[in-house]
């Protein structure tokens, strides 16, 4: 399947191609992956977090946030990670959705649930730190020439935090 083989290369975040004007890659780089395992895991996380978030924020707001967050993460990668020549993966958006989902649950959560959310937040921060220090490379079974882009996860968390603050919810029913 020549097209199936070539499509990821046409869609991935490619620094040189982006700078040459192929701007669709700002969005599509988040839709392609290096392996089926990466696709399934990132997709599953995004799906679960998305289903929780969509109940709180609504579909239109969520889609608009994703449409803005994708190029935000890509442009920030261009600026903040100059050595990152290629990028594939939806984990940046998955982290963003997770943060939004967690933020939507917080006002209505009881003490135990809040404790769980706080532990998850700290774990996420620790995971990103471990990725930045290259400790987490062994936790992933991505191709060996691919480095985990911790910046994408951090940017996703920031985007999720900003979106949650922008659409801040009260303790009432959503």
């Amino acid at each position: 399947m020549p097209f199936a083989d070539a499509a990821p290369e046409l869609l991935e975040f490619d620094r040189h191609a982006l700078l040459a004007g192929e701007i669709w890659r700002l969005w599509t780089g988040h839709l392609v992956h290096y392996s089926w395992r990466q696709t399934l895991v990132d997709g599953a996380v995004a799906l679960v977090a998305g289903l929780i978030a969509v109940r709180a924020y609504g579909l239109r707001r969520l889609l608009a946030t994703m449409a803005l967050a994708a190029p935000f993460i890509s442009v920030a990668l261009l600026l903040a990670a100059p050595d990152c020549l290629y990028y594939r993966g939806s984990s940046g958006l998955a982290v963003m959705l997770s943060v939004m989902a967690g933020a939507s649950l917080w006002p209505r959560a009881g003490n135990v649930a809040r404790l769980a959310l706080a532990v998850m937040t700290l774990s996420l921060a620790a995971k990103i730190a471990a990725e930045a220090l290259l400790i987490a490379q062994g936790w992933s079974d991505m191709p060996t020439d691919v480095r985990i882009s911790w910046q994408a996860h951090l940017l996703g968390a920031i985007a999720g935090g900003v979106a949650a603050w922008r659409f801040r919810l009260g303790a009432g029913p959503h």
């Binding site: 988040h30 895991v41 679960v48 990028y87 594939r88 989902a101 769980a116 691919v146 985990i148 996860h153």
Partner: protein, 277 residues
Amino acid sequence: MRLLRTLILFFAAAALAGCASWNGSHGSKQTGSIVDYLYPDAKEAPAMTPTVTRLRPPVRVGIAFVPGAGWGSGLPEAQKIKLLERVKESFSKHPYIGKIEIIPSQYMRAKGGFTNLEQVSRMFDVEVVALLSYDQVRFADNNALSVLYWTIIGAYVIHGDQYDVQTMLDASVFDVQSRKLLFRAPGTSQIKGSATMVSLGEKSRAAQIDGYNAAVDQLIPQLQTELDNFRERIKNDASFNVENKAGYKGGGDTGWIGLVFAALLGGVAYAVRRRRA
């Protein structure tokens, strides 16, 4: 009259069994020599100027079979690709090896030398090429049972032919720019068997393919060991310089931890809904 009849019967039997009885020892040879490919018509040893070989991991590698000596020599292209795929697969997990390109035989010119190798490396965008040279000899002999071929039915049911296929593969890994042999590893195999006269061709062809497969089975671990030795050797060898390429491939991967997060998040969402209900 009786004598004439006996003579006719004798000659008829001899003629019927002739194809078997006149078919003695025979064999064939398939060869693709790396020396013939890289140094065609060389009258004297190639002059090597001392240079520093620069390797920039992850190294882009091409793998190819050395072109055969003549038309029809060697394996069919589809079989070659299958064998190269197996070699490729076993080396694709190393972090210091980037992409691995399989170079089809059509791009390799017999006696093409380093000029052809450089053209191919540019075409496939590879820095290092692993060349697989091969030498396979197939012997076929009749055994004592072949006398029963004269019954004609015997040619279909009696295993009166035996074959012996000996294969040697050799993988030589070259840095294209410096034309230096980085390391090499061999793989050998011997396949023996017997067949009826009718099935000899088919069985011996299958044995030849099995011979290549068995040689690759032996080659892969040896190549792995040689690669490890090479990595150790270049640390103390001044003629090699390992540089890191600028830039890297990034991947967003939430990993299995992400799935645990998602499950916990789902649990919290369920608990919150239950609490509100």
